[in-house]
Symmetry: C2
Subunit: 324 residues, 2 copies
């Protein structure tokens, strides 16, 4: 049994419980929304966010148990993430996601807006019913951050003057904020110690940033078959991710193509090739690796012999392995 198998064994049963609960929570009242939701929940996705929440729950408990409230938070986290994807696909005009058609293209924009609203609303309702005001505050902030990230991404399209800091902030709002807040919230539900929940917030933040950077690299280097969505879509949308940013810093031709928003024939193809052959990819990998190291540091407050803590470490390193 290799490391990956043994890692997934650690959490597999809990993910099955989560999958069943997600189906019940989203409900089957309305044929259209049910179809939209089922379509998404069936497709699966990586369940990275609930896996992190469930592992944090186990790692911060005395005997590797997960509280009902923590399971609920894992489910809420996945619902928020799914809601954000549905609206994100409308914003990006994305046709496929997780290897299948997006709600937006399988149904239409209206259904996508409504399905996203419905999922956001359901998550707020379940969140309030967790009955822990501090956790409600932390997770509510995430939904604001998600909108903030989308706006920043929208207003920085094709803008080659953005800084690496801009990119990191945008990635925090879009991705890391949810993971950070759900790690922190999970710890808060079981443990009153602020030090633990603060460190887990930082673990989630840096893991989330690494995860987003790797996702952005894969968007450049992978085929659409592997990605389950069209390759190079960030570039086409003018969303300047880390490897594009690093390449453009040194390459006037790439700068020009981005500035003119790829209006010349072969602009996109040529730019993709130049990024793939530049040091931009490696620099982006190094950046992700730095975040993984910081995330690992944040786990030092927990028992290093605990197998769930080792699971959290494995997960951080696994983020980088997705490239190979």
């Amino acid at each position: 049994m290799n490391q990956t198998t043994s890692f997934f064994n650690l959490i597999q049963k809990d993910i099955e419980i989560l999958n069943n609960n997600l189906k019940k929570m989203v409900g089957a009242k309305h044929p259209i929304l049910y179809a939209a939701a089922e379509h998404l929940f069936k497709a699966g996705g990586k369940r990275i966010r609930p896996i992190i929440v469930l592992l944090v729950a186990k790692a911060t408990s005395q005997n590797s148990t997960i509280l009902n409230e923590q399971r609920r938070l894992a489910e809420i986290t996945e619902i928020i993430h799914t809601a954000s994807l549905v609206h994100d696909d409308v914003l990006d005009d994305c046709g496929t996601r997780r290897g299948i058609k997006t709600v937006h293209s399988a149904f239409n924009t209206k259904i996508a807006v409504l399905a996203g609203d419905f999922l956001f609303a359901q998550s707020s309702w379940y969140l309030a019913n967790l009955g822990q005001l501090e956790v409600v505050k932390i997770i509510s902030k995430v939904i604001t951050d998600f909108a903030e990230g989308e706006v920043r991404q929208g207003s920085a399209r094709f803008d080659i003057t953005i800084s690496l800091n801009n990119y990191t902030e945008k990635s925090f709002y879009k991705t890391a904020s949810l993971i950070a807040a759900s790690c922190q919230g999970t710890a808060m539900l079981a443990d009153e110690r602020k030090e633990i929940s603060y460190n887990l917030h930082l673990y989630g933040k840096h893991l989330g940033l690494a995860f987003q950077i790797i996702d952005d690299i894969l968007d450049i280097t992978s085929s659409s078959t592997v990605l389950g969505k069209p390759e190079g879509s960030d570039l086409k949308n003018g969303n300047l991710t880390a490897s594009i940013f690093f390449c453009a810093l040194k390459n006037k031709q790439v700068q020009k193509s981005i500035k003119r928003e790829f209006t010349e024939p072969n602009d996109i193809f040529n730019t993709l090739e130049q990024i793939k052959n530049s040091k931009g990819i490696q620099k982006a990998k190094d950046l992700a690796s730095e975040h993984v190291q910081t995330a690992l540091q944040c786990l030092k407050c927990l028992d290093q012999h605990n197998k769930d803590v080792q699971g959290l470490k494995y997960l951080a390193n696994y983020t980088l392995q997705r490239l190979y």
Copy 2:
């Protein structure tokens, strides 16, 4: 000074404070969202929801004072309402609202989705920071209800088999739920007595239903100039409101036109004329009037000599006056 003037004097200063706070709360961080939001908040709207909240706050306090948390709830209520309008306009493909272009048509669908998400997210964040878990639960349910109402409306388009009960439920989810919950929440913020907050929930519910029924009648009887949006848009969208419902019950020609979704020339014009000349309008008015009477009954738990309670009564009756 007539009754309307003296009513608005009762609350005018508080509405000015609210308007200023709304501008600050929505923030000016992002040019596009700020434009979208300003566009909406400048246009004003009737501010009916915050007026109700502020009056309930005054009517349930000893000396007509409004708590800071109650002001915040009035602001949150208006933000949720505005967010729902922005997404509603995307769903209905509506070009004008409050006499000006909708976000969706002035900018585009993407900005409208984002602006709505941003406003919903801001409201959740401010709501959590009210620090009253029971109020958070009650208001969170409203956002779920809003999505529920939209789905019900969507799946019942052009369906002449719906019952009056269907219409009332849909109106509750779309409109009355927010007013009922904000009345209840406002009372809960100041007064522990469940009887008071429950009665104010019912007051808000029946006022909200009356308000929606009248709004739906105006959609049939008014010109687009008065409405600030295209007339007869409910009918065109197959959204069978009370007066359409009552007319269709007795009129086979109207039933036929609705069934074929107005595909024949002049179907919409003819149907509008038939509804205007039918007893459907009066029956819908009677229905609204019944809800106003029920709303007034719910105020009996409060001091009848209090001028703010009289304001709440005036507001209920004013709902019906909008037709004249």
